[in-house]
């Protein structure tokens, strides 16, 4: 039952974060790229003021898979690094925490460009 509730919240919170972005796309003139930037900054901000972490406790991947979760990784990484190394951590913590995702995007994106060619848009 616990597992069912965890997956239900992952679905609802993850879906809700996407729905908010969809409303922003439909109702305002914000381009998808701007929305991604807003989401990632919102993730950093909400984590910094300790609102996002309870959401992760509740929804798991529902809060970590959306791009706000990327912002959360940055914020948590920075905080941990500042605790360990002082001010230097403000510069080193964020990218260290997200290195896996960024490197994976570069590597798999590059491999995709080796294998596939762009298809004409229908």
């Amino acid at each position: 039952m616990d597992i069912f509730i965890k997956y239900l919240f992952a679905f609802i919170i993850g879906g809700a974060l996407c729905t908010v972005a969809q409303i922003l796309i439909d109702k305002t003139k914000l381009t998808p790229a701007r929305i991604l930037v807003i989401y990632v900054c919102a993730g950093v901000f909400l984590t910094a003021i300790n609102i996002y972490e309870p959401l992760v406790e509740l929804a798991g991947a529902g809060a970590t898979v959306p791009l706000t979760g990327f912002g959360r990784l940055i914020a948590n990484g920075v905080k941990k690094a500042v605790d360990e190394k002082g001010l230097l951590g403000a510069l080193t913590g964020g990218l260290s925490a997200t290195a896996g995702g960024i490197a994976a995007s570069i590597v798999f994106g590059f491999i995709a460009s080796l294998i596939f060619s762009s298809k004409p848009k229908k």
């Binding site: 996407c18 439909d26 403000a90 995702g101 491999i111």
Partner: protein, 166 residues
């Protein structure tokens, strides 16, 4: 002879009807689409986005079950989702899903990976250094730039706070 002409006329007429029906149908669809595109878009964004998050949770639980610690299984989940998006982008499947799902595929990490890989594939013709190398982050780059900027700002503020309150 007359019956053949008759038949032809009937055929022509029914064809005309078909065209009319088609037009009516298109108008009807457009009317419906205009009335509730947001509701429809939100529905697909919600269900597809939610489903991707459920897949993410399944992956986290799978990696944790395999004995990987919490932090690493989160990273591995991101990497798995990124790999899948790059593959689906290359196969041309991602665009078809994204057209329906809108923000449902954009907001999860899949959107980030799609932005990188589609850019890599599209700029391949311009060469691997100035094409792929230079333009791979045309769309996804701003995300990293502003994430790092806001993260550093937070780090500085947090550092000052620890100095003041210990």
């Amino acid at each position: 002879m007359l019956s053949i002409i008759n038949l032809y006329l009937v055929k022509l007429f029914s064809k005309g009807c078909d065209i009319l029906k088609k037009q009516e149908y298109i108008e009807y669809v457009e009317k419906r689409a205009k009335r509730s595109p947001i509701l429809k878009n939100c529905f697909f964004a919600f269900t597809v986005g939610g489903t991707i998050c459920i897949i993410g949770q399944l992956l986290i639980d799978l990696y944790t079950y395999l004995g990987i610690n919490k932090e690493d299984s989160g990273t591995l989940t991101s990497i798995t989702l990124i790999f899948t998006s790059c593959l689906l982008t290359g196969l041309g499947v991602f665009d078809n899903i994204a057209r329906v799902a809108g923000a449902g595929t954009l907001v999860p990490i899949t959107g980030f990976a799609n932005a990188v890989s589609s850019q890599a594939i599209d700029t391949k013709s311009e060469g691997y250094v100035l094409g792929v190398g230079a333009k791979i982050f045309t769309i996804a780059g701003p995300v990293i730039v502003y994430a790092v900027l806001s993260g550093t700002l937070y780090g500085v503020i947090y550092y000052i706070c620890t100095l003041i309150w210990g």
